[in-house]
C-alpha cells in the first residue's frame, strides 16, 4: 500500500483503516505479532491482516466483524490524530482544484498543522511534484516528518521548522501554488510571491475571520496579485430514510357513496399516488438533512500571480 499508490494486499508496515460501521473507524499500523483491540474483539495482525486483500471482512475474537480499508488522504483526514484544528475534504477539494494542482506541481504550504491538507497535496502532485511545508511549532514539525516517513511519502515532501512570516518557505521561484493557513497571512504574502515561479502561479489563503481576509486581500493587491476572489464552501449531508406520515382523519361525509377528499377508505385511488402500506399512512423515501451541519470553517481567498 502507499498513500500515493494502491496495493492489493495488506503488508507489514502498512497503515490500514479499520472500519467498524457508520462513522466509526480508526487507523492501525500493521505489524507482525501486533494485536489491536476493538469492541468486537481482538484483531491479530499476523493472522487476520497480513496477506489479506484490502476491503476484506475480518472477524474479531468476540465474533463481530470489521472491514480493512486501503488508506487514502480522505480516510486519513477523518481519522488522523489532531494536533491542531484541521481542514476537511470539502475545503481540501476546492483548494486542490482552484490551485490547479496536478502531478508534477510544486506546492508551498504553511502551517503544516496536523498534516491533513499535506497528505492530500502529496497524493495529487505525486509522482513528480513536491510539497514544501513550513511549521513554526517544533514538535508538530517533528511529528509531521515522522508521519510522512511512516506513510512512505517522505521523498515527496520537505518539512521546515521556521516562521514563514519572517523567513519564508526556504525556496524561491519554484512553486506553482502556495497555501497559507496561518494567523497573519498578510505578513507572508511577500514571501509567497517570491516562492512562486516568475512566470506565475496560484495562491490561497484560508482564514476563519473576515478581518483577516480583509487584510490579506489588501496585501495581495499591494503585491500585484490578480483575480483575487474570496469564497466559502459548505457541505450538506443527507440521510436516506423511508418516512411514513400519518394521514389525518377528516371524518366521513354524511352520504355513503361520496368519494371526495383524501380519506383512508379510498385506498385504491391514493395507492397510486403514495405507497400506502397500511390504513392511514403514506410512505415515501426522503433525503433528510442532519439536525446540525457545519456552518463555517473559513474563508478561502484565491489569487493569481502573473507577470503583468
Amino acid at each position: 500500500m502507499s498513500f500515493v499508490e494502491y496495493g492489493d494486499t495488506i503488508k507489514d508496515g502498512d497503515t490500514a483503516i479499520v472500519f467498524l460501521g457508520h462513522e466509526s473507524m480508526f487507523p492501525v499500523k500493521v505489524q507482525h505479532g501486533s494485536k489491536t483491540q476493538t469492541k468486537y474483539g481482538v484483531i491479530r495482525h499476523s493472522t487476520d491482516l497480513i496477506g489479506k486483500r484490502y476491503g476484506s471482512k475480518v472477524t474479531c475474537s468476540k465474533g463481530g466483524w470489521v472491514f480493512i480499508l486501503h488508506p487514502t488522504p480522505e480516510l486519513w483526514t477523518m481519522n488522523l490524530p489532531h494536533r491542531t484544528q484541521i481542514l476537511y475534504s470539502t475545503d481540501i477539494s476546492l483548494i486542490t482544484m482552484m490551485l490547479e494542482l496536478k502531478p508534477g506541481s510544486i506546492v508551498c504550504e504553511s502551517g503544516t498543522g496536523s498534516g491533513s491538507l499535506s497528505h492530500a497535496i502529496i497524493r495529487t502532485v505525486a509522482p513528480t511534484g513536491h510539497l514544501y511545508t513550513v511549521e513554526f511549532h517544533q514538535q508538530r514539525a517533528e511529528k509531521a516528518k515522522e508521519e510522512f516517513q511512516e506513510h512512505k511519502v517522505e521523498h515527496l515532501v520537505t518539512v521546515k521548522n521556521q516562521d514563514v512570516c519572517k523567513n519564508g518557505f526556504g525556496v524561491s521561484d519554484v512553486a506553482d501554488a502556495v497555501f497559507l493557513d496561518i494567523p497573519s497571512p498578510w505578513e507572508a504574502i511577500g514571501h509567497a510571491k517570491s516562492a512562486l515561479k516568475i512566470e506565475g502561479g496560484r495562491i490561497c489563503s484560508f482564514s476563519p475571520c473576515i478581518e483577516q481576509v480583509q487584510r490579506t486581500c489588501l496585501a495581495m493587491e499591494e503585491h500585484g496579485f490578480t483575480e483575487i476572489n474570496t469564497l466559502e464552501i459548505l457541505l450538506r449531508v443527507y440521510n436516506v430514510r423511508t418516512i411514513s406520515l400519518q394521514i389525518p382523519d377528516l371524518g366521513k361525509a354524511a352520504k355513503d357513496n361520496s368519494s371526495t377528499g383524501f380519506d383512508s377508505s379510498n385506498q385504491s385511488n391514493q395507492g397510486s399516488l403514495y405507497g400506502i402500506l397500511q390504513q392511514g399512512t403514506a410512505q415515501f423515501k426522503s433525503g433528510v438533512p442532519l439536525k446540525e451541519m457545519v456552518g463555517h470553517t473559513g474563508y478561502l481567498t484565491f489569487a493569481t500571480k502573473s507577470l503583468f
Binding site: F19, L69, E74, T128, C217, V237, Y238, V240, L307
Partner: protein
C-alpha cells in the same frame, strides 16, 4: 525572444486558449487570420501568439491585440466627496455627454481610460457621491469602456467555471465545486485505473485526466455510437495522455458482466473529436464557439478529401480505358482495405478494453451523466476492485435516493454518503465586505462510497441474510444497525 524553458508556457498557434474578461470566460482555438468575437468585441489572435499565458491585451482599431502594460493607478489625492445620498436625485440627466458624444470619442480612438475620465468630469452628481459610490461608479464605467482581455491557459478550474456559466445544460448543471469534490472523493491521482461514465461533453473526463497526469489508465464508458470529448480537447493534453485512454460501449456492458461478450457487432462509427451538438441553450449566441471551430475544420478536411478524389477521377478519365478501369479498381480496393484496417483496429481495441474491464480491478468509478444512475452503478461497480472509492453525480436528489437504497440491498459497499455543497462568493473591500448578492441555487448532488469484498454465499439468500446467519444472535440487531 528568449526560448521558453517549459512547453506550454507561451501561446502557440493551434492551442486551445481561454479568453477572460472579468468573470467571463470563452474557449477559442488560436488560429491566424481567424476573427474571434468575445464580449461584443471583434479581433484577431495573431498578435497574441508567442506571448506568455496570462498576458493581458487591449483591442485596438482594426481588431488587433496589443499587450497592455500595467498602468500606474492615478494617485489617490483626497478627492471631493459627499457623505450620503439624501440630496442625489436620479433624473437621468446628470451625465452631460450624450450617446453620440461618447460614440464620437470612441471613434476618435480615445482610450477607455480617457473616456471614463471624461464621463466623471461631465457628471454633475459625481462630486456629491460618497467615496464608496464614486468607487462603484468608476468600476462600472471601467468595466464598460476599458475592455481588457486576458488569455489564460485552460485547466479544470477555468473550463469547469466556463462551462457552468456558459453552457450548464451540456454538463448536467455540474457546478465546479461539485466537480472538485468528485475528484478528491474519488482519490483521482496518477497511476489509477479509472472507469468513467459521463455525458458532460468530456469535461469530467478531462478533469480526471488532468489529475492523473498521463499516468495510469482511463476507461470511458459511452452511450450510443461514441464518446463526446469536446471539452477534453480544450485541456491541451499531450498526445501521450491519450495512449492510455480507452472507451467501451454501454450497450456491451451486460454481455461483459454475464460473460457472453463478443466483438462481432460494433456500435456505429464513433464520433471522437467531432462533438455532437446538443440542444443549444441560447447563451451561446456568438458564432465562433470552440465547437463550431472544430466542426469547420472537419468540414474543410472533408472538402479536401473530395477534391482529391475528384482530381484522381479526372486524371483517370484522361488515361486509357483499361488503365482507367484498373486504377479505379485500385482506388476502390484502397478504400475498402483502409476501411477494413480501421474496423479491425477498432475491434482489436474493443477486445483489449473488454479484457481490461474483465480484470475487475479498477481503482475507482466516476459517474456523471444524464442517465438514471442506478443501473449504471449496479453494473459498473462489478469492474471495481474492493476498498476503492466511487462517486456518482446527479443533477437531482431523488434518483440518488433510489441508488442508495438499491446499493444497500446489493451489498458490497460501505460508507455511503449523499451530499451537496453550497458555494458562496464574497466581496472583500475595506468597510464594504459582505457576501455577494447572488449565489448559485444548486450545483447537483453526490453519492459516494467505498467498495468492499462481497462474501460468496452458499444459500440463495442475499448477502445480508447470510450475514444474519453468521453472527451470534445476541449481537445481530446491534451489528446490523452499526454496519449500515
Amino acid at each position: 525572444m528568449e526560448e521558453s524553458a517549459k512547453p506550454g508556457l507561451r501561446i502557440r498557434e493551434g492551442d486551445c486558449a481561454v479568453l477572460k474578461r472579468d468573470e467571463v470566460f470563452k474557449a477559442v482555438l488560436v488560429l491566424r487570420r481567424r476573427k474571434v468575437i468575445f464580449e461584443k468585441q471583434w479581433f484577431y489572435l495573431d498578435n497574441a501568439i508567442g506571448h506568455i499565458y496570462g498576458t493581458t491585451f487591449e483591442v485596438s482599431s482594426g481588431g488587433s491585440l496589443q499587450p497592455k502594460k500595467k498602468m500606474e493607478e492615478t494617485t489617490t489625492e483626497t478627492k471631493e466627496a459627499g457623505t450620503d445620498n439624501r440630496n442625489i436625485v436620479d433624473d437621468g440627466k446628470s451625465q452631460k455627454l450624450t450617446h453620440d458624444d461618447i460614440k464620437a470619442l470612441k471613434d476618435k480612438g480615445i482610450k477607455g481610460q480617457e473616456i471614463v475620465q471624461q464621463l466623471i468630469e461631465n457628471s454633475t452628481t459625481f462630486r456629491g457621491k460618497t467615496e464608496f459610490a464614486q468607487d462603484k461608479y468608476i468600476k462600472k464605467k471601467k468595466k464598460k469602456y476599458e475592455a481588457v482581455i486576458t488569455i489564460v491557459k485552460p485547466s479544470t478550474r477555468i473550463l469547469s467555471t466556463m462551462y457552468y456559466a456558459r453552457e450548464p445544460g451540456k454538463i448536467n448543471h455540474l457546478r465546479y465545486d461539485t466537480l472538485a469534490q468528485m475528484l478528491t472523493l474519488g482519490n483521482i491521482r496518477a497511476g489509477n485505473k479509472m472507469i468513467v461514465m459521463e455525458t458532460c461533453a468530456g469535461l469530467v473526463l478531462g478533469a480526471i485526466m488532468e489529475r492523473m497526469g498521463g499516468y495510469g489508465s482511463v476507461i470511458q464508458m459511452y452511450p450510443g455510437g461514441g464518446p463526446v470529448r469536446a471539452a477534453t480537447s480544450c485541456f491541451g493534453f499531450p498526445e501521450s495522455f491519450f495512449n492510455t485512454l480507452y472507451e467501451f460501449p454501454l450497450s456491451k456492458v451486460d454481455s461483459l458482466v454475464s460473460g457472453t461478450f463478443s466483438s462481432e457487432t460494433l456500435p456505429s462509427e464513433p464520433e471522437y473529436n467531432v462533438p455532437v451538438e446538443e440542444e443549444s441553450n441560447g447563451s451561446v449566441d456568438e458564432k465562433q464557439t470552440l465547437i463550431q471551430e472544430t466542426e469547420e475544420e472537419s468540414s474543410t478536411e472533408a472538402v479536401m478529401e473530395s477534391n482529391e478524389t475528384e482530381e484522381q477521377e479526372t486524371m483517370d478519365l484522361a488515361a486509357e480505358d483499361t488503365e482507367y478501369k484498373e486504377s479505379k479498381e485500385k482506388g476502390n480496393k484502397e478504400n475498402i482495405r483502409e476501411k477494413q484496417r480501421k474496423q479491425q483496429e477498432r475491434r482489436r481495441k474493443l477486445v483489449e478494453t473488454a479484457a481490461l474491464l474483465e480484470e475487475k480491478n479498477a481503482d475507482g468509478l466516476i459517474v456523471a451523466s444524464r442517465f438514471h444512475p442506478t443501473p449504471l452503478l449496479l453494473s459498473l461497480l462489478e469492474f471495481v476492485a474492493p476498498s476503492r472509492p466511487f462517486v456518482v453525480y446527479c443533477q437531482y436528489k431523488e434518483p440518488l435516493l433510489e441508488c442508495y437504497t438499491k446499493l444497500r440491498e446489493k451489498g458490497g459497499v460501505i460508507n455511503l454518503k449523499l451530499s451537496e455543497t453550497w458555494l458562496r462568493n464574497y466581496q472583500v473591500l475595506p468597510d464594504r465586505s459582505h457576501p455577494k448578492l447572488m449565489m448559485s441555487g444548486g450545483g447537483g448532488y453526490l453519492l459516494s462510497g467505498i467498495t468492499v469484498t462481497v462474501e460468496k454465499v452458499q444459500s440463495d439468500a442475499s448477502s445480508l441474510e447470510a450475514q444474519k446467519i453468521e453472527e451470534p444472535t445476541s449481537k445481530k440487531r446491534k451489528l446490523q444497525e452499526l454496519h449500515c
